[in-house]
């Protein structure tokens, strides 16, 4: 592959396929051929837990194109799915398998969020053979090359996935130190990777597993409880991932300690009132924000002194296209509302409905 890869990425071939690029030709022959882009074929969909009345969780095994550069445990990947062969929607998922190298298969584990079109599609409808689009692995929530002697993992809900990836990597690297693993789940039935964790717990190797279910009377996370479990925990390198309330509790317990690294899922922003002119509009690149006036995003940006690129100001020329990262916008021409995250919108004809964030 390396010779083919070098050739495919060569300047000569780029010059010949200009202006379209090598991948625009390769994809016409075989979607698994790529010089720069990353795609993957789903090779397995495995249901982890399926509690009636609760969204199911599945682990999906992906065979990436040879362009996949591998990942470090704890990283995530942007995964794009094409619905009805037309609309590509992209979401972020954490890799759950141990560190991968160039072109290696890897897995993601996800819960079918009832309102999440991509996660529901992947868990409920995707079948082996389905192609998906990928980014390279991203994220700084990773283990260092030299793992400390004692590490602490704290996770909650589906926040277990990056931590599980780390745990699996440590096992594969035959880490000799001590690992304390604390995980909060709603109930034993909701426990993802239960059998594997049980196996790890039994076989020991210095891994101390604590599966907690506060609804069944297990202690909630507190400094006192953590202190009993791991004396001097504030100095133990810790990786924590989970829903916002758990992360807040962990951050409070660590009191600013540099030993703590966290990753958490952002709570959804507030949805607006009827007329839409509530909430806050944030322009992330410039760091400016103001109460939503209900005017178009272009006008609101200009009112804050920003100078976004624009052209026709009537939605036809696409000069002002920008990335909306969060929130809902209404197309002032059609009245159509859209709440997709990470969506390209024409800010001259888009008015925010409630809270909204745009990369400007």
């Amino acid at each position: 592959m390396s010779i083919t890869g070098t050739l495919l990425r060569s300047r000569a071939l780029a010059a010949l396929t200009s202006p379209h690029g090598v991948d625009r030709y390769l994809e016409q022959v075989n979607p698994m051929w790529a010089a720069h882009e990353v795609r993957a074929r789903i090779v397995d969909v495995h249901r982890e837990v399926d509690v009636p009345g609760h969204p199911p969780v599945a682990t999906i095994t992906l065979q990436p194109t040879s362009t996949w550069r591998g990942h470090r445990a704890g990283q995530h990947v942007q995964l794009g799915v094409e619905f009805d062969g037309a609309r590509r929607t992209t979401r972020v998922f954490t890799v759950s398998s141990p560190d991968s190298r160039h072109g290696d298969r890897f897995t993601i584990t996800l819960r079918a969020n009832p309102e999440g079109v991509v996660s529901r599609y992947l868990v409920e409808r995707a079948t082996p053979g389905t192609m998906v689009h990928l980014s390279q692995a991203q994220g700084e929530f990773v283990l260092p090359d030299h793992v400390p002697d004692h590490v602490l993992f704290i996770s909650g809900g589906s926040g277990i996935t990056p931590v599980m990836s780390m745990l699996r990597s440590l096992q594969r690297r035959t880490h000799r130190g001590r690992v304390t693993f604390v995980h909060y789940a709603q109930s034993p039935d909701h426990q993802i990777f239960a059998a594997e964790l049980e196996e790890i717990r039994r076989s020991g190797h210095g891994i101390d597993v604590h599966l907690l279910h506060p609804e069944l009377g297990d202690p909630a996370l507190s400094p006192a409880w953590l202190g009993r479990l791991v004396p001097g925990y504030r100095d133990v390198p810790t990786w924590a991932c989970g829903p916002a309330p758990l992360i807040e509790a962990v951050q409070a317990a660590y009191d600013g300690s540099e030993a703590l690294r966290v990753e958490y899922f952002k709570p959804p922003r507030v949805r607006a009132s009827e007329d839409g002119s509530t909430g806050e509009v944030a322009f992330s690149r410039s760091g400016k924000a103001a109460p939503n006036t209900g005017a178009s995003l272009l006008e609101q940006a200009e009112a804050l002194g920003l100078r976004p690129e624009f052209g026709c100001r009537m939605g036809i020329c696409f000069s002002c296209t920008s990335r909306k990262t969060e929130g809902t916008v209404r197309n002032v021409l059609t009245g159509e509302e859209s709440s997709l995250p990470d969506e390209d919108i024409r800010i001259c004809v888009s008015a925010p409905v409630g809270d909204c964030a745009v990369a400007l």
Partner: protein, 382 residues
């Protein structure tokens, strides 16, 4: 059918019902309704269509490049490469860069990222075309596509002896159309007239030179070199394919705005324009070409220039179906709908290019206020 259109040298007020007689708000609302309905309906078929066109274009391109290794197949190679370049330019490049397929979320078909196989960098073209031309369509002094700063295409462009060369300039522009489009943003005419300095175009130079270098390198150096001893034949073939594409695109594009019956507008009458008036101007400022399905594909559906100007961001494959409704709406509102076969539209454009080369005669000026029985009127009755 009582609609009448006017000859080239009339402004729009006399064409087909003046704005005071037409309820432009209701007219605009009807067009908005078409737009909303089509946008809500976009999906799998539109995606499959554009992907098929892309696949076909790539196929023709690869076939064309490969056939140059077979000397007897040289004409076939040129034909295949020409088809590839025309598809790339019209049905794919032009339409993708209008944002017609942005809703798909496919970076390969995204208006922000697409680059086409011509000398003009997409970034510059999107400014002069999507923004300037499509926003200020046919407004004299604002729409630089009227004559491209080279030609006299409207009575209201003041005649100068320079314009005696109108047919010659048009021919040269046709032969080197991709160069004309590439240099469009530099506004040479304004630099020559001293209205603009060369330094003011500096931000364009780098992108322009890079694109020209890339295009020239592959068509005139690398691919010919790859065919070894056949270098001259491949070079000539590539040049010919570019030339054929230039001639084709020039003619289709000129038929879209310059046949008889198309109106131009003054800046004053477009001040504080309503949405309905904007649609009205787009409609009267454009002209369609009738033809077969294959013909429409090869024009990038710019044969439906009217629908394209009303809805530039709707996938072009929808224009034929929209056209039926637009024509019906125009009939009801008594607004001219300029459409005719390629031969007639071409002839009309050629006559205009030649006639406007000459100074306006007194008689012509007098004719301005009188609706003429120009050919276009007859096509409306269809």
């Amino acid at each position: 059918m009582t609609t009448q259109t006017t000859s080239t040298d009339t402004t729009h007020q006399v064409s087909a019902g003046s704005t005071s007689e037409i309820d432009l708000d209701a007219f605009g609302a009807e067009l908005d309704a078409i737009r909303q309905r089509v946008i809500a309906d976009l999906g799998e078929e539109d995606a499959a269509y554009i992907r098929t066109v892309v696949k076909t274009q790539r196929g023709f391109e690869v076939a064309g490049r490969a056939l140059f290794y077979l000397p007897p197949a040289w004409p076939l190679a040129v034909a295949a490469l020409s088809v590839s370049k025309i598809l790339d330019n019209m049905e794919i490049g032009h339409n993708v860069m209008h944002g017609q397929y942005d809703w798909m979320g496919d970076p390969g078909l995204n208006s922000r990222m697409y680059e086409w196989d011509t000398m003009c960098p997409s970034e510059q073209w999107k400014f002069s075309h999507n923004y300037i031309h499509h926003t200020y369509t046919n407004i004299l002094g604002k729409d630089r596509d009227i004559g491209y700063g080279i030609l006299r295409m409207d009575e209201d462009q003041e005649w100068r002896p320079y314009y005696l060369g109108n047919p010659l300039y048009a021919t040269l522009l046709m032969l080197g159309f991709e160069w004309g489009v590439a240099l469009h943003d530099l506004e040479f005419d304004r630099i020559m007239a001293g209205e603009k300095t060369w330094a003011e175009t500096k931000h364009l130079h780098r992108g322009l030179l890079r694109k020209i270098r890339n295009q020239t390198l592959k068509d005139y150096v690398l691919f010919p070199a790859l065919t070894g001893p056949l270098f001259p034949a491949t070079l000539a073939g590539n040049a010919l394919a570019n030339l054929i594409r230039n001639i084709w695109t020039f003619n289709i594009i000129f038929c879209g705005h310059f046949p008889a019956g198309v109106s131009t507008f003054s800046q004053e009458e477009c001040e504080d324009e309503s949405r309905g008036h904007w649609y009205y101007r787009q409609l009267l400022g454009s002209a369609n070409i009738t033809g077969s399905k294959l013909f429409h594909v090869m024009t990038g559906n710019l044969s439906h220039q009217i629908e394209h100007h009303l809805f530039p961001d709707i996938p072009a494959r929808r224009y034929p179906e929209i056209a039926v409704e637009v024509r019906e709406i125009c009939e009801r509102y008594g607004i001219a709908y300029n459409s005719g076969p390629l031969g007639r539209q071409l002839g009309s454009v050629a006559r205009k290019i030649c006639r406007l080369a000459l100074p306006d005669r007194l008689g012509r000026r007098a004719a301005r206020s009188r609706p003429s029985e120009d050919v276009v009127g007859s096509s409306l009755a269809a």
